[in-house]
Symmetry: D2
């Protein structure tokens, strides 16, 4: 997200705006944790994971009273507009402020690409590469022991990461929140891999799939399908790491466009990647739609695992 912050700050400065950074997200907005941002304050941050403005959850901001307090703090500080970078919850908050008259632009950031209105969110490409590196390492350990590797990825409500990882890592089967898979189907895909002569079967389990990875391991071991299971739970390492080129470019473009929107008088929208260009999507639409994983990709996993 640092690339987006840098792009917003420097584009705004070129447009003769003053820029104020809000620390700790909405909680900092309610508390007035502001700091002026100059061009040098965003120097040398492109390669860092996380965000220099830090993040927080805010119970107070969820209440109307907290939102009023946030708007009061913005007015006191002379802030004319707000650019919010974050996930679904952040866009909800952005929309709430927009409905109360704040000029707000959202920029989508999400590890598991669960935000409606953009082909892809900032952070997803980096997470995908982290998962891929991990699975590549597992595949290196090929041996004459047949092994089934279970990898748990992020994705509480979205199977995007798991499905895409399935395609690019050669998984036998992918378990996601969107589609229940029964025990028989899992067993069949693992057995099938064994029968076709694969030395390992890779099973990717999104954390919100409904089956816990530890239970899945036990289940497969008990079915005695010819593979011994080994488990990797990636956890929060998917949230860190120096951002990829793709993420930095997307974030830079969205940051520039967000400021340009304000200059042109557009607000109440989120920047969204559509085709080659960055569009503006009404925040009201963003929060009232649910993104679903494209099942075409889900089926592609099986074809490519052959």
């Amino acid at each position: 997200m640092n690339a987006a912050i840098r792009a917003v700050v420097r584009t705004a400065l070129v447009n003769n705006m003053n820029v104020i950074g809000v620390m700790h997200g909405y909680e900092g907005l309610v508390n007035g944790e502001f700091r002026p941002m100059g061009a040098r304050d965003v120097g040398g941050i492109l390669q860092r994971g996380g965000t220099v403005l830090l993040t927080s959850r805010s119970k107070r901001f969820m209440e109307p009273s907290g939102q009023r307090e946030a708007i009061r703090k913005m007015n006191e500080a002379g802030m004319d507009a707000l650019i919010v970078i974050g996930g679904e919850g952040s866009m909800n908050g952005a929309n709430a402020l927009a409905q109360q008259g704040v000029k707000v632009i959202g920029i989508p950031g999400s590890i598991d690409n669960d935000i409606w209105g953009t082909n892809i969110a900032i952070g997803t490409d980096t997470a995908m590469n982290t998962i891929m590196d991990a699975v590549d390492k597992l595949r290196d350990t090929a041996s004459s022991h047949q092994r089934a590797f279970l990898i748990e990825t992020m994705g509480r409500n979205s199977g995007y990461l798991a499905v895409m990882a399935g395609i690019i890592c050669g998984a036998e089967i992918v378990l996601i929140p969107e589609t229940p898979v029964d025990q028989q189907e899992i067993a069949a895909s693992v057995e099938d891999a064994y029968r076709r002569g694969k030395t390992h079967a890779i099973i990717i389990n999104a954390e919100g799939s409904g089956i816990r990875t530890t239970d899945l391991a036990t289940m497969i071991d008990e079915m005695d399908l010819g593979f011994k299971t080994r488990m990797t739970i990636l956890g929060h390492i998917q949230r860190g790491g120096s951002p990829t080129a793709y993420d930095r470019l997307l974030a830079s473009r969205m940051g520039v466009k967000a400021v340009e929107a304000l200059v042109e008088g557009t607000h109440g929208v989120m920047t969204g990647l559509k085709g080659k260009g960055i569009d503006f999507i009404p925040l009201a639409d963003v929060i009232s739609n649910k993104r679903k994983v494209n099942m075409e990709y889900y089926h592609m996993v099986k074809v490519l695992a052959r």
Copy 2:
């Protein structure tokens, strides 16, 4: 490109086709260097740089006689169609075969994204990340010595890599084939960085910019702008490395679509990324248009370097 090969082979097998791999590109086609490809032959290749089918240049194939020989070898081997993965030269060859009646599908692979008809080619994202990692390392060496780092990237006819690297790496100025830059402008951008208090200036020079990187280093040193220059020439390291998630996904999708096109009776086209989807672009159009770098990005470099 291995991800594309894997996708083509396995999708074809699912569609009950036989798959024959052609070694060494068009040279191998002329020579009949064929090998049958099964599902296991493309196992474990996703993470490898380069291509398992190897590449070559072919003088013979550039002649009509060579092309006739290639078609004869295809017929002998019972090949009904050909999928060609490669750059501009490969698409030219593909079009030449198409015009002689061969059912051919092109898949664009290019380090410097110089192929018309697709938003991005396979290989570009990996090269971009390699360049980015290199520049990140340069920036780590910050010191109280003011330094100007010159980095030479690939791009004989295209400034795509250099411009995008400029955005995501924070370059002061980018030198590309598409736009001549005079000495004064280079000096001004470097001096400006010095004046704004930057501890380093980053200059990215595409190999086809018209200024040799060694000459550029001498020039800047002689102008005595407050920075000492240090030079990095990346060379062929931009062509290797395990492919990124983005490249593997793009290659997988294009490979699947190429086979689907053949199943549906479409040929004489190249797969091209348009928006979220994969389109088919006539090969004749691909080879008669020149891709130009979007100058909006070129100007974004300067805004973001502020």
Copy 3:
């Protein structure tokens, strides 16, 4: 391990020996799964994780009858000597063969550095860097939420990886097989991190520590120490990945020395790193001693976590 295989093959060829590769470890030795190895057969393997000769477990080789069969197969193939690369189990097997008159040299390979007689084994440095990269990513996700990250590393009998990772990653506390730690001590170290103003506490748990990582997570959550726990189980990704420079150099040196030992008439030993040089340690000593983690490092973790 591929670097060691390459070094053995090429050094042997320079010394006018014939080299035969044994596939699948001792199981392949019993089965006579041999293949001649030339200089080109070990080209291009340096950067690959795992081993081109693959591995296996062998029940048959554990029996005297299996060992006799292995020796018979060696004789049939005209093998005068054997170089074994592997862990404790492999060194046990090597010693068993040595006692039956086979000229054998061991080369220590171990992820968790649990082999007595060498400062460090091949593979440990690579695993250490994999763990470090993972923890670096966790630390990137710093926020105003206080979080305790639990990371499970390999190490069934040895705390080496966990302790060293603790030093270089800044862990609050490290749980290892060698030293029991009670619940109070874990709680105290986490609370202490919280009190000193750390935004995250890192706890590294070797898989053989006696506490399961999932139980540890539950325990810390229940103690309500001010941090929410997040869990990462690295699993077999520690066994893969392209080997580091250190591992390749160590493996190359040991491979060269192993062949030199045979040339000089030395056998029944393992190559061991001692100071700057490679020594030869009697296999009988290797297998009768247990390597213990240096507790000085264990205490260094606490000093450096301050």
Copy 4:
């Protein structure tokens, strides 16, 4: 070097010392650019390349008057002892101060491992891995074109990096400052690689070898040995990058030992890795000896390139 700074600060604090950071090296010492360092000031710095204290060159400190001024500034600030992290020049400065009565400990940091008195210096392992990753990428681009890759590494006076890279990357020949190599020998090694059927020849040229890489490229092209040359000049990317596990461990150990030396009343020495342990080497010895590359390794390159 940040790992060493962190280790010094935290070990000193545990020993109830106050710690003052000196910015910009000796130049900052002369200028009194000091800042107090607490435990949190070195939090989160382990993974960053470069040094949080920044570096500088200092002409003034080379003069006796500058050294006297530095000592005066130290006295004013109440500094009892000084720990210097750096290369040969830094150790020279440290020795000069020691001879004027300052309690000083050196910690060796060097990209090209050219400091006498320690097996290896901090930073060398990281640089080695950067070189290795680059050469691995070059090797990926294997094709049926025969190519000679020339890679220029650091090493103005020392061939250490080039030789070790030669072993672990499979170079045909390595050009280093310590041993002149004539044109014939280079040609012979490249031709030999061609004759043995290699698809690429790798030539590693230390920057201080006496032959400029660009001249070497021209020379090989003119000799027409069957390979086309491709050139990579790594430059300062070898100085950056997140430090490896080995470097962080070495730096941590040396930092701890440096403070322990002061506690025990030892000074006028440099920490040096000898075997498994950290020794103290008189600074006077460090600066009066020249480290030479071990020619055994130089010959190992040729054996392993076979």
